[in-house]
Symmetry: C2
Subunit: 128 residues, 2 copies
DNA sequence: GTTCCAAGACTACACGTGTAATCCAAAAGG
DNA sequence: CCTTTTGGATTACACGTGTAGTCTTGGAAC
């Protein structure tokens, strides 16, 4: 259990993504990875990385004169937090209304639907 | 089509909820409604209401010496915005991984599952 | 009419966040 | 050694947000 839920900002999550894809990384590698998907200044990325350190979302271990950074907050933990937050804030905490919303107001591709059916089937099989 | 997507904050959405439940309302009624679910100061609620006005998320029509407030941004629009944002930011824009996440990492109640199955069935019937 | 009051308008202020620039120390190069 | 480089630490600053307080103006009450 995380002692107290670590909350990260949108921009910070972009930096985490780099580390979730591969870790540990040097700050230089992180900067490069983030910049491949954005046009942020190197300084910006380093600032975000430091804030993540301060929040305890990543750890830094010395490696010679640099640090190697690795995520402490996992992608799954973060996805849970964000999903929960959306569900509670916007859909009264229930999953079905969320999906219903997507069905009625967003486009679900045929592929989406197929995937969802598979999932439900799998869930139900396990359930019984 | 909303001219440019209206973005509202978490606190502001609490005020919108009052208006989504019932509209039009006077500011006094809004304050009362919001305070039934929170302990915010009346001034706070009025500030949020004014910010929503400024953003074009609500409209105010004069009624004697007061205004009657009504939502312009609909609950459905807001739910779409928020859902989309979560999906794009956190799940690469696809619905199935979101549901898969809930399945693996959150608890889906039997009722959730039943509702989901019904939904998928309904969707598929329409689809073919 | 003058006074008082309430609804709304305007102002306040700290904190997080986006977005960097500057400062510093130790390694690397000469 | 002295200088340059470079990663990291510190500082900057505007904007949105949470959370109110103060100001103002047009009726309501005398």
């Amino acid at each position: 259990m995380p002692q107290s839920p670590i909350s990260i900002s949108e921009a910070e999550s972009r930096v985490m993504e780099a580390l979730w894809d591969e870790a540990p990384l040097t700050s230089e590698q992180i900067v490069a990875a983030v910049q491949s998907n954005s046009d942020w200044h190197e300084k910006t990325v380093r600032t975000l990385l430091n804030r993540l350190l301060g929040k305890g979302a990543v750890e830094a271990t010395r490696d010679g004169r640099r640090y190697l950074y690795a995520p402490l907050l996992t992608r799954t933990q973060w996805q849970s937090q964000e999903s929960h937050s959306l569900l509670d804030r916007v859909f009264g905490g229930r999953v079905a209304p969320l999906l219903a919303h997507f069905n009625q107001h967003e486009k679900l591709s045929a592929k989406d639907i197929a995937e969802l059916r598979k999932l439900i089937d799998a869930i139900e099989r396990k359930e019984r």
